[in-house]
């Protein structure tokens, strides 16, 4: 039987489950007293370490992570205990997600912490782990992800950036182009997929290299996206020298390493806790739009759309929890996890679209100095940017292809 206990905080549905016996008749959701204590601990940590008026953002940020570290690995929640992580239960992870979505905590980038670090842990040698992980953890080094190329988007294995071993065997010489490299213009290092051999199938002969961005032979050019911002770039390599010690794992095996990471990236992209918070914000915004004696949330078609969105979110949240639960039980993430990215990104897009609709005539105003309510100002740019959620980290069509093949066993899918 399913039952809820003390689940509705003021605005956000907070719940968790006991992950044991999930598949038995004892299935239930509530917070144990330990979990409640943990939640309070998290909340008071966030409260105590809020940025103070006039405090410098960047020094506050570094200080925040330091204090989180002293809590016992709270600065690297997803890292395993062996590498300094907190060793939380899935319930605790879930609580953390919920609380961070609501709290004002310092920004963090996924590239080093969430993308490269797991690869280093699994495939890097001890020396590489020692060399790179502390700086990632201290947020000292910014990483960027050099996978996609003009000819290798959905078909990532088609990548052509060449890495050739020097005659003395000490370096790879890298030549080629990457595209869509997020924050390459501020990155210190790149983790990069290169081709060392093209004699076999595409997935073979790919080599995983790490190298600094600020060096001769690397040229970064901005790509401006629809929201008017510069986050992505093209990156060109001309005879970039990369010491062989910067290769992860074995030469030619990079695809295997990267693919594991991609799966990781995809579930991370669902962002459901954030969406729950944004949904409440959306409702508040709509309520601030007066219509007659009421407000936009009284408008039947608008209200229905918000309702449908919330229903999808309720279901997707449990899909995520089921997936976490099966992972916690030691199994592979179940088939349900394959739809998380699809659903999660679609939900984010619908929230953004409904924000545009709530803005009414002001949705077309552009820039800070324009007109309309505060939520409308960034709303349209947010919507335009939301369009890429279904493109990056595995475009939706390709994701469905994977589900069709791997989950439903329909072998005639077109992508690999």
């Amino acid at each position: 039987m399913l039952y809820f206990a003390g689940l509705r905080s003021k605005k956000i549905l907070i719940f968790t489950f006991i992950f044991t016996n999930f598949n038995t008749k004892n299935m239930h959701i509530n917070l144990s007293s330990d979990d409640l204590a943990f939640r309070d601990d998290v909340r008071s940590f966030f409260e105590e370490n809020k940025i103070k008026a006039g405090e410098d953002y960047f020094s506050w940020r570094l200080g925040w992570f330091e204090k989180a570290r002293e809590k016992g690995g709270w600065d690297v929640p997803k890292w395993p205990e062996k590498f300094g992580g907190p060793g939380w239960t899935p319930t605790q992870h879930y609580i953390w997600e919920q609380e961070t979505a609501k709290a004002n905590i310092p920004f963090d980038l996924p590239f080093g912490l969430g993308m490269l670090a797991p690869i280093l842990m699994n495939y890097g040698n001890e020396e590489q782990q020692k060399r790179f992980m502390p700086d990632i953890r201290d947020r000292k080094v910014n990483w960027c992800q050099g996978y996609s190329e003009p000819g290798a988007g959905s078909d990532l294995a088609n990548l052509k950036t060449k890495a050739v071993l020097s005659e003395d065997g000490k370096h790879y010489i890298v030549n080629g182009s990457k595209i869509w490299t997020t924050l390459a213009h501020v990155a210190d290092w790149i983790f990069c997929l290169t081709r060392t051999d093209d004699s076999g199938i595409k997935q073979q002969g790919i080599t995983f290299l790490l190298f600094p961005m600020k060096q001769e032979g690397i040229e970064v050019k901005p790509i401006i996206t629809l929201g008017g911002s510069h986050t992505v770039n093209t990156v060109h390599f001309t005879d970039v020298k990369v010491p062989v010690e910067n290769m992860i794992g074995e030469e030619g095996k990079g695809w295997t390493y990267a693919k594991g990471l991609l799966e990781h990236e995809r579930t991370g992209l669902a962002g459901l806790s954030k969406s729950l918070v944004e949904l409440e914000q959306l409702k508040d915004n709509a309520r601030s739009v007066q219509r007659g004696n009421g407000n936009l949330m009284d408008d039947s078609s608008y209200k229905s759309k918000v309702g449908e969105l919330e229903i999808d979110l309720l279901a997707t949240e449990f899909t995520e929890l089921r997936s976490l639960a099966s992972a916690a039980a030691g199994g592979e993430p179940g088939p349900e996890s394959s739809i998380l990215k699809l659903k999660g990104t679609e939900i984010k897009q619908r929230i953004a679209k409904l924000t545009v609709e709530a803005s009414g005539i002001y949705s077309s105003a552009w820039g800070d100095k324009s007109a309309g309510p505060a939520f409308a100002k960034g709303g349209t740019a947010g919507y335009l940017n939301s369009r890429y959620f279904t493109i990056y980290g595995g475009a939706s069509e390709v994701q469905k292809d994977i589900v069709a093949k791997k989950v439903l066993g329909l072998t005639k899918g077109s992508s690999k």
Binding site: G153, D155, I361, S370
Partner: protein, 375 residues
Amino acid sequence: MNFELSEEQKMIQQSVERFVQENYDLTNRVKISSEDPGYSKEYWGSMADLGWLGLAFDEEDGGFGGNQIDTLVLMEQFGKGLVLEPFLANIVLGGGIIKRAASPAIKESIIPSLMEGKLQITLAYAEEQSRFDIEDVATAAREEDGGFIINGKKSMVLNAESADKIIVVTRTSGSQVDENGISLFIVDASSEGVEKQNFPTVDGLRASEITFEDVKVSSEALVGEKDKGFKILQAVVNDAILALSAEAVGAMEVLYKDTVEYTQQREQFDHALSDFQVLQHRMVDMFMEYEQCKSLLFRATLETVEDPDLAQRTVHALKHLIGKSGIFVGESAVQLHGGMGVTEELRIGHFFKRLLVIDSQFGNADFHLDKFTNL
């Protein structure tokens, strides 16, 4: 039944098409949009010289006596290049009010210079609280010393930055949302008490917030009858909906065709993207939406030409479909272009933004669905 354009209309269509092809590549558009005044004075002059600005004015006012079909022909082609020149604000909105309701004296002082592109005009109707309800008017005009004093604030006024004259929708009697009691005034943009705050819009055009503080006008500034402005406003808004819908149809055509072309060229997994059935079907959907919008555009336009009152419901239907389909086609074009779709470098993103803005003007898809089902 005849859906053929006249020989004259076909000629105009071709000449607009050529104009857009020659002058409106993306680089040029971005350049024009980013520099003041946000459109090309040279192009505006050419449009006047080619007679496009006078098409929809009556012959007795010096125009060519055209109707909404002529405007459709122009706007559909404008939509294919995302033309920036202020045709909608000057000719459809401002000019539309003048030709319908102004005194002979005002007509004479305005229409000829409008058609020559020498005078600019716009319509200020929306307000902070009004959202899409055009009858929701708080800006007040109070009678005093034989004239009127206007106080209030107007929102998202198109082309106000360049306008010499502003037609202001005001309340002279009744409650804030009554259709009765709305009056239209023509005000010099340089009048004392008129304050503009200009800014760009998402689609690279310009709009303004305008405050009117004790702005004095004479009784001659009243356009049409006092308190009876709503009908005129509604007719002009309907024309604007037809015009914008025609522009949207032009924009959708570009989007679906660009997508078909791009997916045939781009290869992934050793196939052209266009080989993948799921993408084929999506493009068929885009194409269907475009064709359906075009059909409803023809229907609403022809019905309006015949009997504007009877056409009202179809106009609501049209704006609903244009809003919904425009965004579907835009989102789909972006999706099928992958990363390229979200960049400013390809034109599809710009067309998508224009369609998004069109949905937010003169009532969005939800608003018109509601009107349609309740009429």
